[in-house]
Assembly symmetry: C2
Homo-oligomer: 119 residues x 2
Amino acid sequence: MVSQADPLSATFAALSDPTRRAILARLAQGPATVGELAAPFAISAPAISRHLKVLEHAKLIQRIKEAQWRRCKLEPARLHQAAEWMDQYRQFWEAQFDSLAQFIDTLKETDRPPLGSPV
Amino acid sequence: MVSQADPLSATFAALSDPTRRAILARLAQGPATVGELAAPFAISAPAISRHLKVLEHAKLIQRIKEAQWRRCKLEPARLHQAAEWMDQYRQFWEAQFDSLAQFIDTLKETDRPPLGSPV
DNA sequence: ACCTTATTTAGCAGTTATGTTAATTAATGA
DNA sequence: TCATTAATTAACATAACTGCTAAATAAGGT
């Protein structure tokens, strides 16, 4: 969980905190200042500031100085990279879905008469 | 980074370590025993055992006792869940790709005469 | 029973993460 | 210049992560 590690490790480490995921969800609706991002949370401003630093370090967000505010916006490239990593495993859950679907079909065949048979 | 946290946090925390991702990559090629999984790494057996515990706790793998071995296999459901979470943000990187494509088109228009113009 | 192999648990150390409060920096505006 | 607002950094406490070595558990073979 060393934040300076490879990009993928930094991305997943950043995403492993629910506060940070909530911040990203908020930023998905548009840019926001640090204060706006902090408002919904019960934790202190410095704590939010550190979460933002983690997100910025992982290059998941960008912080742009605007007068006395810092406007934060989503930077999607690293999310894209992480999603591509997960895609490697897509075949596995799709295979599982197929076997589930197959299993459900089996149940239908066992529990009910085939479609179109007399009632 | 509390491993007992919500499933998504546990998943991302588990994925934030390169050794654990390498273990998953190995398991994508088929089930393996702990010893087989440990072989490529320079770290001790207990360290691997703990990584496997993290992966098992995150429900990314299953460990099945077979004689004196423990066969490990990939369990894709949580990866699927994480991939679905990321899909929420797909529009953002796709939008970025669009603007990059647009930018490249702009360059082409600037640097070259339009297609079909006299040489 | 005993030895070997496979794997985990215990105990320890060093590093990293997260939160707090208090102090600091930076910009705005009277 | 001074007060206000926005946000960060400093200093500290606590908990978690990761690795090690040594010891324990579990199963199999002789």
